[in-house]
Symmetry: C2
Subunit: 171 residues, 2 copies
């Protein structure tokens, strides 16, 4: 059975949707996706470093459309490992696990990895939104398009912008 | 550089020391190591399942003697990965990371893995106190002796009862 590493933030969890909300709450202003296209997260939202270190942030994230339905299907045909670079932010760890339990109850605790280096885990396919993870990966790669990676030149990774596309490729 | 997987509970963190304290706080009675030799954790302390699910438990554990000094030395000659089966207990995750930051500040967040299946990560050597982890591991193994594993028949794993012994073997 092929093993797939599935990232959380920007792939299952809609981090930007929450960033837009918090920006509006903090400033009263509205920022749009168009304004942040091509910017790194810290350029688009300098406040983000403080937000992600706050207990409750990762528990509050909306789910990326179709990810629950498609991941549940994938979980029947592949060995799914949900993996998140989380050890940089201790407060995020418990929140992330509870969020997964809430929204992806079919993912068993044995299928979850919180770490600081994804290259520790060999697999056949990685779905991620960051070059730093995909570029160091030996297997097949799928880049999930997000504002921070949309303009990056890339000839190596297959690019998708929805879970419906992942469904077509893998199922 | 050889990679070593180092377990937390029962190898770096003295879980039993805290169990004895909590037992005394709860009952007023003293339980000794001799009384629990050869018993599984849940047999020795039926209350343990509740204790380990309580926020703060893993943050409060004493450090196993010599583990800080020896692991710091090992960290200069080996690729050390501290790895804990933690995703079964969401409340433990943040506590465990903060405990590591407190007591093992030389372990970088990139060297930490919280998961539910240690066999996902290939390595040369595993130091652990549970057969379920050591028996499924492909590399060299060192079993850290604890009350729950002391009587188990075992012909495969090298057994140690202190970090001073690990120091002699590996340095």
């Amino acid at each position: 059975m092929k093993r797939i590493l599935v990232d959380m933030d920007g792939v299952l969890a809609d981090v930007y949707a929450r960033f837009f909300e918090l920006y509006k709450e903090g400033t009263g202003l509205t920022k749009t996706t168009n304004e942040i296209m091509g910017l790194k997260e810290a350029e688009a939202f300098p406040e983000a470093i403080r937000w992600v270190e706050t207990t409750g942030f990762f528990r509050s994230l909306p789910v990326i459309p179709d990810s629950q339905r498609v991941l549940k299907l994938l979980n029947e045909s592949y060995e799914i490992i949900v993996i998140s670079m989380a050890t940089e932010y201790p407060a995020s760890l418990t929140d992330k696990q509870l969020w997964l339990n809430d929204h992806f109850p079919f993912i068993n605790w044995k299928q979850i990895v919180f770490c600081g280096n994804k290259s520790l885990i060999p697999a056949d396919l990685m779905i991620d939104d960051h070059f730093k993870n995909l570029d160091n990966f030996d297997g097949e790669t799928i880049m999930f398009i997000q504002p921070h990676n949309i303009n990056a030149v890339d000839h190596h990774h297959r690019r998708v912008s929805s879970w419906a596309e992942i469904e077509k490729i893998l199922l």
